[in-house]
Amino acid sequence: MRWLRKNLVVIAGLLTLAYMILPNIVVMVFSFNKPNGRFNYSWQRFSLDAWKDPCGVADMCESLSLSLQLAAWSTVGALVLGTMIAFALVRYRFRARGAINSLIFLPMAMPEVVMAASLLTLFLNMGIELGFWTVLIAHIMFCLSFVVTAVKARVMSMDPRLEEAARDLYAGPVQTFLRVTLPIAAPGIAAGALLAFALSFDDFIITNFNAGSTVTFPMFVWGSAQRGTPVQINVIGTAMFVLAVLMVVAGQIITNRRKKTATA
């Protein structure tokens, strides 16, 4: 009884973790399945077929590559614009600053379906052909709010004296930005980048409305689910998950090592 009381927090934590990870485990396990029919919904027997031939399904890897490209460019676009907005909002006093501060949350707050439909209306009325570019514009738009929020939090906690100190120590505006401002804001920018990449990569609703005939990976999965689910989808899912976990672990190791060398 006493043991239980002592370890209650740990047990609750582990259970919550299991709750979060279970779906991923299922995806992983079923990536080694060899289904009888077209649907990968019930366990048959172990097989490495799908892992050996991840691009064996027609058009899937094309859609995956498109999604990765979209995610990368959306991240870059949202990062550049979002960082500038964040700095402007924190550092400068200008007209409509308050309005922009609250409007920046609009894409987060608005239901995605509404946003998707209104974007489509906008693109159609402007006579813009739907495809890669319309999706990219849409993705950058909704990633922006997340980047701004993440970077703003970091910039707000930055001491403006640090930049004054840099200028005082013979660093011109460019050097000050590259050597002091950017490295210190980096954790916020990195957090924004991760969010932007993940959001863009798996966005379905806005993409589906504005993609025209282009097919991203989430759209491919959705489309194929009508006719059957190839095991390769699970392979891609597992690979992405493992990659993400590895990145987080690597990040942890690097920060830990940095701390250690600093104290040594």
Partner: protein, 390 residues
């Protein structure tokens, strides 16, 4: 590196800091009224005042971090008024130290040299670490150092550039009292060693007097008085300086005679003498004057012994309201017809046991230690602000 040409790199001499008609206004608020100030080369110069008096703004204008509204700044013969901070041969030690958190100590110190395109910095950085006694901390990050150590890094990071002027913005404000005393001596030692002009901003009058060769007392965006610490203390020109630097007893008095070298005045029925050349404003018979004397200049005698006080000394009778024993001295508060709550500091050499609250006493002092101030000023100027700034 475009800044290399503009920056001389070394202290080339001939470099007084000259502020001419410099002022700073934020909208309708005047942080600094037009002021002229010359800081002699190689001196330790303090800007002293309460918070909001314009001392930090003045310092930031010298650094180039603030654009003056009017006036010019010269370093030696060079007009630097329009130069950006990174082109001025001036470095700053910030109040919060502003060490770069993502760099270790030696990278922090090397920052200025590297920005000026100097490649081999190791020896200079090591020398600098030696000077501030932090040789073993080169690879530490700023947050791993104590406040005093961070402060020394900030000094090293600025000094390594051999600036013509080192600006210090309340550099000891965040340290505890003991460490502050230690760092005062340390900074003074470094200044003597490197011979660079130091301009030090502080609200601590003791700090300013301990360290500086010259002190400019600022109040409300103006320089109230400029001089050597002892001169400021002995000869305050305004009630603000009299009260802000140490403690002063100021007594409102009426002028009786102006004939001789001493001015004869009357306050609370008694007569006092003030040396005529120590009166800051013209005195005329029947006019008002503020008579000032420092608490440690006053001697205290019990009323029974009044007869034994030598002739020719200024006397004020009163009653002890309060006394506090602080070791080397005893501080008395005396109420008298001439003025309420007069302060007297008596050395504890031979303590008179009769001097307790309620005792009738005579305060007496050498008239030469008396100064006269213009009675048109606020008698309490600079009193409260000392507490506020702490």
């Amino acid at each position: 590196m475009t800044d290399k040409t503009a920056h001389t790199g070394k202290n080339t001499g001939g470099g007084d800091v000259r502020l001419t008609g410099i002022s700073k206004a934020y909208g309708s608020f005047n942080a600094v009224h037009p002021l002229d100030l010359t800081v002699p080369q190689g001196s330790f110069f303090a800007l002293l005042g309460a918070s909001g008096c314009g001392k930090t703004t003045t310092l930031r204008m010298i650094a180039g971090l603030e654009d003056p509204t009017t006036g010019t700044i010269h370093l030696g013969d060079t007009d630097v008024t329009d130069l950006p901070p990174y082109k001025r041969p001036v470095n700053t030690v910030f109040q919060s130290y502003a060490l770069f958190p993502h760099m270790d100590i030696s990278e922090n110190i090397a920052f200025g040299l590297r920005r000026r395109g100097i490649k081999s910095v190791k020896k200079q950085v090591d020398d600098m670490l030696e000077l501030v006694q932090l040789g073993d901390k080169a690879r530490h990050k700023p947050h791993q150092l104590s406040g005093g150590q961070q402060q020394r890094v900030a000094v090293a990071r600025a000094l390594i550039n051999h600036p013509q002027v080192l600006l210090l913005d309340e550099p000891l404000g965040a340290l505890d009292l003991k460490l502050r005393r230690q760092m005062q001596l340390e900074l003074k030692r470094i200044q003597t060693e490197v011979g660079i002009t130091f301009v030090h901003v502080t609200h601590d009058q003791e700090e300013a007097m301990t360290m500086a060769d010259q002190v400019a007392v600022m109040n409300g965006g103006r320089v109230e008085q400029l001089g050597a610490p002892a001169d400021l203390y002995e000869n305050p020109q305004t009630t603000f300086v009299a009260n802000f630097l140490g403690t002063s007893n100021l007594i409102e008095a009426e002028v009786l005679e102006t004939g001789g070298s001493d001015v004869l005045v009357t306050a609370g029925g008694g007569k006092l003498r003030v040396p005529g050349d120590r009166c800051t404003s013209a005195v005329r018979q029947g006019g008002k004057v503020l008579v000032g004397v420092r608490p440690e200049k006053i001697s205290l005698a019990h009323a029974d012994d009044a007869g034994s006080i030598a002739d020719g000394r200024n006397r004020v009778t009163g009653r002890i309201a309060d006394s506090s024993f602080i070791g080397v001295s005893t501080q008395y508060v005396v109420n008298s017809p001439a003025g309420a709550e007069l302060q007297v500091y008596e050395q504890n050499i031979e303590r008179d046991t009769r001097l307790v609250p309620g005792a009738e006493v005579v305060l007496h002092w050498n008239p030469a230690h008396t100064f006269g101030l213009d009675a048109a000023q606020d008698i309490d100027a600079g009193v409260e602000t000392v507490e506020d700034a702490g």
